[in-house]
């Protein structure tokens, strides 16, 4: 089969991390191609290169055999490459029709928008997707699944010959997913080349013909038929054995009474009936797919969304935490965000300010005076101990590598002396050496009695670090797995809980 879109030996680096290293993939007309890999494997970067959001450092993009260099999303769209991004990209107050036709509202700036013609055109694509909604409806009135379909309609309306779907089922129910697959099969029959990105392997085996797996920015396989493979093969390719981390012996079980306990907890964010305990010195893993509600649970416990039911107990006392400030200063809870650059650090500020921010309140004198020297006395040793590679404490943190930034994100909570540390995706975008260091650090902290709640989608990391693993799916805890560090058994047990949707 002729390939429409071919990516050849593409590389892309960002400061401190090589996101793609000599990656190739080729998409054929009338076939569904799975792109698999764990978080941070390079899938999103590859999609950004295909759609022209980012330019590759090396390698080439061939469309219909001709070399292309897209510098704007518009150019890829004009070529017939449609994409449905993981996050919703709709203008909420606009109608369905306007959203579908957004880039074709008129020939020039002062053209009158022909609402009737646009609605007619939109209806064509809505019909194709079996979506029975009035094209005049504002998008804000639609369900998430309908919004998803509107975005697919938008991509199709560009007469796309290549359609990229990035985790299209992440927010869909099984029924909605099934409807989407029917549509994908129809498009495939019409000769569209589809790239399907998903974490859900049963879906991949259900509709895909070929597969490309990425790991650490490299091809594990490049466009091979899925027919000859089974689940185990694919999982093995995704997870790999190459950078096997030192296997730790299971730690002795801490006997202390729980530091944090959630009983039948529910929240405004959507959590229902969550039960969870973390003891001092214990590392509890919280595993789940993207969107399962793990980070939301962490933020909810910190007081960022309202508790609507159940109990939160700290050291056996019922508490009601309503702000992050009180979570830190009264209850000793720290949170290392998964979004280091957006939520964890103030990139324009110095290492000192970033690491010291948690203790400013404690160190400030009665009149609110605060001296750098006072902060440095507390923060300096922690920074030194964590081997943060920085020329000085005054260095702007944005100039450090991802790994060193992450060390500072953890350092600030160590400096604050928290009793419970929630660590969300500790190793996103950092090198393997720092990753191993952070794992050691987490163990050391736990060894000194800190309670750790570890959130990660990185299965080897989870198996390496956690004592026991809670599996979360759709804002509920689905089950618990005792971690004996036998990778196959533990990962299998976790997956069983996640795939057990129908039974639940």
């Amino acid at each position: 089969m002729a390939s429409i879109l071919e990516i050849r030996h593409v590389s892309k680096s960002f400061p401190g991390v090589k996101a793609l290293d000599d990656v190739s993939i080729s998409l054929a007309a009338g076939s569904v191609h799975a792109l698999l890999g764990e978080n941070g494997a390079g899938k999103s970067t590859l999609i950004k290169i295909i759609t022209g959001v980012q330019a590759p450092d090396a390698g080439e993009v061939l469309f219909d055999g001709a070399s292309m260099r897209f510098s704007k999303p518009r150019e890829a769209g004009a070529c017939g490459i449609g994409v449905v991004h993981q996050e919703r990209n709709l203008v909420m107050r606009f109608s369905v029709a306007e959203n579908i036709m957004l880039d074709r509202l008129g020939a020039h700036s002062l053209s009158r928008v022909d609402h009737t013609a646009i609605a007619d055109e939109a209806v064509r694509w809505l019909k194709m997707l079996d979506l029975d909604i009035d094209p005049g409806t504002p998008v804000s009135r639609l369900s998430v699944a309908q919004m998803q379909l509107v975005e697919i309609g938008k991509a199709l309306s560009l007469r796309s010959r290549v359609l990229l779907l990035d985790e299209p089922t992440a927010s869909l129910t099984p029924n909605e997913s099934a409807a989407l697959f029917a549509i994908i099969r129809k498009l495939k029959a019409d000769g569209v080349a589809i790239l399907f990105v998903s974490h859900k392997l049963e879906e991949v085996f259900g509709i895909c013909d070929t597969v490309t797996v990425l790991r650490d920015g490299r091809n594990v396989c490049d466009s091979v038929p899925l027919a000859g493979l089974n689940r185990q093969d694919v999982v093995k390719m995704m997870i790999g054995r190459a950078e096997q981390l030192a296997r730790r012996a299971p730690r002795s079980k801490p006997a202390a009474s729980p530091l944090l306990e959630l009983r039948g907890y529910s929240s405004d964010a959507g959590h229902r009936d969550v039960n969870l305990t973390v003891r001092p010195g214990e590392i509890v893993g919280l595993y789940g797919l993207v969107g399962a509600g793990r980070s939301e649970l962490a933020k909810s416990v910190l007081g960022l969304s309202r508790q609507t039911g159940g109990e939160v107990l700290l050291n056996g006392q019922a508490v009601h935490i309503t702000s992050v400030a009180s979570a830190l200063h009264h209850h000793g809870i720290g949170y290392v965000s998964e979004d280091r650059k957006g939520e964890g650090l103030i990139l324009l500020h110095s290492v000192l300010d970033n690491a010291g921010i948690t203790i400013w309140q404690r160190l400030a004198s009665r009149f609110g005076l605060l001296h750098d020297a006072t902060v440095a006395r507390e923060v300096g040793p922690v920074i030194a101990k964590l081997e943060v590679k920085t020329p000085s404490l005054q260095q702007t943190i944005g100039n450090l590598s991802g790994g060193n930034q992450q060390k500072v994100s953890v350092a600030k909570w160590i400096a604050a002396g928290v009793k419970l540390l929630i660590i969300d995706e500790p190793s996103v975008g950092i090198d393997i050496k720092t990753k191993a260091y952070l794992h050691d650090l987490i163990h050391e902290l736990a060894g000194r009695g800190t309670a750790i709640l570890l959130i990660t989608s990185d299965m080897p990391e989870m198996v390496d670090v956690a004592d026991r693993i809670l599996v979360m799916d759709r804002f509920r805890i689905k089950g618990e797995v005792e971690n004996d560090r036998v990778y196959e058994r533990v990962s299998q047990a976790i997956m069983t809980f996640i795939h057990d949707r129908k039974a639940a």
């Binding site: 203008v91 909420m92 959203n99 699944a145």
Partner: protein, 325 residues
């Protein structure tokens, strides 16, 4: 889904401010019948006309999700250029009007180009250009007014076209209609709102974001210029201080009218009632000889109230989105 009448009214941008306007008019005219005298209505409508054009200049920028702090400084600069061209250079008035509008468009475009190309926030860029425009203004005038306003212009600013309807209403109505039409029916208007509503979506859909931002600022400059010259006609003098006091009301009227300061949602009709409310409050000051500070407090309270209502509606919108109603 069934909704209570109150909620449905709240969903309408202009209903709330419209109701308040009517109530205020009713109350004040009962307490002070002079409020509805033909002369007072003429004065009130003249003020509303100018303030409406000022508010429209800010409304465009609010729509695209930015702020224009230089609106008043640009209006003032155009005002003195307009009279200066007539008095010093002997340019005929119609030509001077065209010249004034051009200055507004070009200066606005300059703002837009710098903002769109550098990606620096509009707040900072327009703060800087405010200073520049004001500086040029004072350099030209040496802080002295131009007095050479032609009689035709003076008449336009101070006579009625019919009954108590001043001529000044004409450009205001025309501007309001054009902007309403633009936001509703023209590609550029939809792009401005799309960009303000969801920048990333607009960008990924292939909308020319740079061009759209430049367009918005050019339009804003056009309205600033028109308002500056309307004020010259009304004051009958080319005051260098024209535009100095536009900032607060240029934001207050659109916000009272339901505009979302984060962009993507504006209402021309709502803005009109916002302007009316502000004009009535200011007039009440004169009619009842109230201390000016009360007016400021009431206006501040009104803005808070309006922002609260807008916030409530956005919150409701997001709830609806989650439920997928």
């Amino acid at each position: 889904m069934r909704q209570s009448l109150a909620i449905r009214l709240l969903d309408n941008d202009w209903a709330g401010p419209g109701l308040i306007s009517l109530m205020a008019i009713a109350v004040i005219s009962i307490l002070q019948p002079a409020f509805l005298s033909p002369f007072n209505i003429l004065v009130l409508l003249s003020a509303i006309a100018v303030n409406m054009v000022v508010a429209l200049g800010q409304l465009v920028i609010i729509g695209v999700g930015q702020m224009n702090l230089a609106l008043g400084a640009l209006g003032g600069l155009v005002a003195i250029c307009f009279v200066g061209a007539i008095e010093v250079l002997g340019v005929p008035a119609p030509l001077a009007i065209v010249l004034g509008l051009l200055i507004g468009i070009v200066a606005g475009m300059a703002n837009g180009v710098i903002i769109a190309r550098t990606g620096i926030s509009a707040f900072i860029i327009t703060l800087a250009s405010l200073q520049i425009f004001k500086g040029i203004n004072l350099g030209i005038t040496k802080a002295q007014p131009f007095y050479g306003v032609p009689d035709s212009v003076k008449q336009f600013g101070n006579t009625a076209v019919f009954g108590s309807i001043p001529w000044l209403i004409l450009p205001a109505v025309l501007g309001a209609f054009c902007l309403w039409y633009l936001f509703r029916h023209l590609r550029i208007g939809r792009y401005i709102l799309a960009l303000g509503g969801n920048r990333q979506a607009a960008e990924l859909s292939g909308i020319d974001t740079t061009g759209t931002v430049i367009w918005a600022h050019a339009l804003s400059g056009l309205f600033a210029a028109a308002a500056g010259m309307m004020l010259v006609a009304r004051l009958q003098i080319g005051q260098p201080t024209i535009g100095d006091d536009w900032l607060i009301s240029s934001f207050a009227a659109p916000v009272i009218g339901g505009a979302s300061l984060s962009g993507g949602h504006v209402s021309v009709a709502g803005t009109f009632f916002g302007v009316v409310i502000i004009a009535i409050i200011t007039q009440a000051l004169v009619l009842f000889s109230i201390d000016p500070f009360v007016v400021q407090i009431v206006l501040g309270g009104l803005i808070l109230w309006a922002v609260g209502i807008n916030r409530f509606r956005e919150w409701r919108l997001s709830k609806l989105a989650i439920q997928g109603a």
